[in-house]
Symmetry: C2
Subunit: 323 residues, 2 copies
Amino acid sequence: MYREEIKVLDCTIRDGGLINQYQFTDDFVKGCYRASCEAGVDIVELGKKLAVSDEYTRDKWGKWNFCDDDDIRRVVDSCDSEHRPEVAVMFDVGRVDLDALVPADQSPVDMIRTACYVADIDKGIDLVRRTKDLGYGTTINIMACSAAIERDLIEALEQVNESPEVDYLYLVDSYGAFYSEQVSAYLAMYREHAPDKPLGFHAHNNQQLAFSNTQQAIIEGVNLLDATINGIGRGAGNCNLELLLNFLKNPKFDVRPVYRAIQEQLVPLREEIEWGFNDIYGISGHLNQHPREAMRVRGDNGARDLCYDFFLEQSGEGDSAMD
Amino acid sequence: MYREEIKVLDCTIRDGGLINQYQFTDDFVKGCYRASCEAGVDIVELGKKLAVSDEYTRDKWGKWNFCDDDDIRRVVDSCDSEHRPEVAVMFDVGRVDLDALVPADQSPVDMIRTACYVADIDKGIDLVRRTKDLGYGTTINIMACSAAIERDLIEALEQVNESPEVDYLYLVDSYGAFYSEQVSAYLAMYREHAPDKPLGFHAHNNQQLAFSNTQQAIIEGVNLLDATINGIGRGAGNCNLELLLNFLKNPKFDVRPVYRAIQEQLVPLREEIEWGFNDIYGISGHLNQHPREAMRVRGDNGARDLCYDFFLEQSGEGDSAMD
């Protein structure tokens, strides 16, 4: 029996774009959007909404790093599916231009998700307030909580709880470091210190646990779940949307359009960019590390499969060990 | 805090050999054996022990399909590690020559695992009895239980429970179809109907759940866990030994030799043969199917990535649908 309250958020373009600096073709974005419409997904996140600058240009960084309303409209209008997911975009603290944000009723965007580290929680909550004031649905996604000092994290959670403008609070396994027991423990902490906030969960697949940890979040009562088509996403990627829809029994979902998108859109893309589990990401998840170093190694043809060397180095047993 | 009772069985050669008809080089087998010795693994399964025949020759099917004692001795003697895992081999019902089996005290083999389907449980138990009579440690691995009629499975479990010669009873997710809730439900059934038997668990990774389901088995009290180096194994492969050792906190384990074996032995092998999760195996696991069809498709260069077509076909929506 399914749980009706569960919503699925497809962040294929937003998290996938972290691999290729958002250089997706329009056809790719439209194809993925269509798949999510037809699959009955609740929310589709189409990118980040950051501020353009001289250095930070659309050409170099890709238009889905900026998510202009007109670009979004072109995608949304390209699909004639009956079901229309909400459209989300992501804010990064310190890199957005709030003055350029129009009220929600003039925008194709329904939800703005604000990502921030614990240290930036005040800035994050401020962004959430201002987006809520403009009528958007809101989430706050606290990143890298597995590397935060617990006291600081708890304080951040308490602040979130006191902010009525936050619709959803996200537990994010940025480093792919969680086992199911950590999912449960963190969720218990989030519930204790932010009892008024509905929770979301965003996994990474470093240890082949993105899907199973998402199931654990469901067991623990989380009702907003992130996933991406074929698990595409930075480093080891995310929870695979198709596996998640197979698991969820709600008849409103139809997995077939997702498999069609994989066959037609994602399989060709796999020739160009890499995502998904491998040994290097497994080690970085186990060591609770930012994926930066693992991604660098995977990008180095001479080192990408030297997992033993990487393990020694990263666990402090190699030459680069520090006290 | 770790659970001291937990034992890890490395079936790299036995399950991996199902991909390449056991055509491993001697160096590969010795390297994997050495890794398990140095890693502190409890039991190493070096292959099947089937009967040679005119049709079923060592040349064609590989010597690790037959596991002659002398072959095993050469591997065991090649390693000077202090820690010595028990050596296991696997029996398939109907394909073994018991008359050729010497008593355990004259053999380098310590444990014989008998694999059988529910329908062959009497034959399986008979084999277990006769191997136990010769002094071997024994397990019975009931295959494909997710496709068995429950009443038949329960009867088989009751028979196993009444057979004192069975040391361990294995729950085997042959089709990679289990979610954690199925692991728990089957284990509850196994405990109810075979309460006297210590349990083992063998996973497959069709839905990226081999590792997490093995964790679930641990949570449910299972103390004998199968895994393979780098997850090698038929189809989507098995629970990755390195991930499992990372998870288990028992200081007797050392994951580094496993990563060294991956870097030196498994990475080159990945150029020749394929294992691990992909979309096709994900579908076959979701549909609770024997991996036969999925393996055929993955072996067909024109079809191996056509997951949408495969989904329609296998879920009965394509041309080959049957009533």
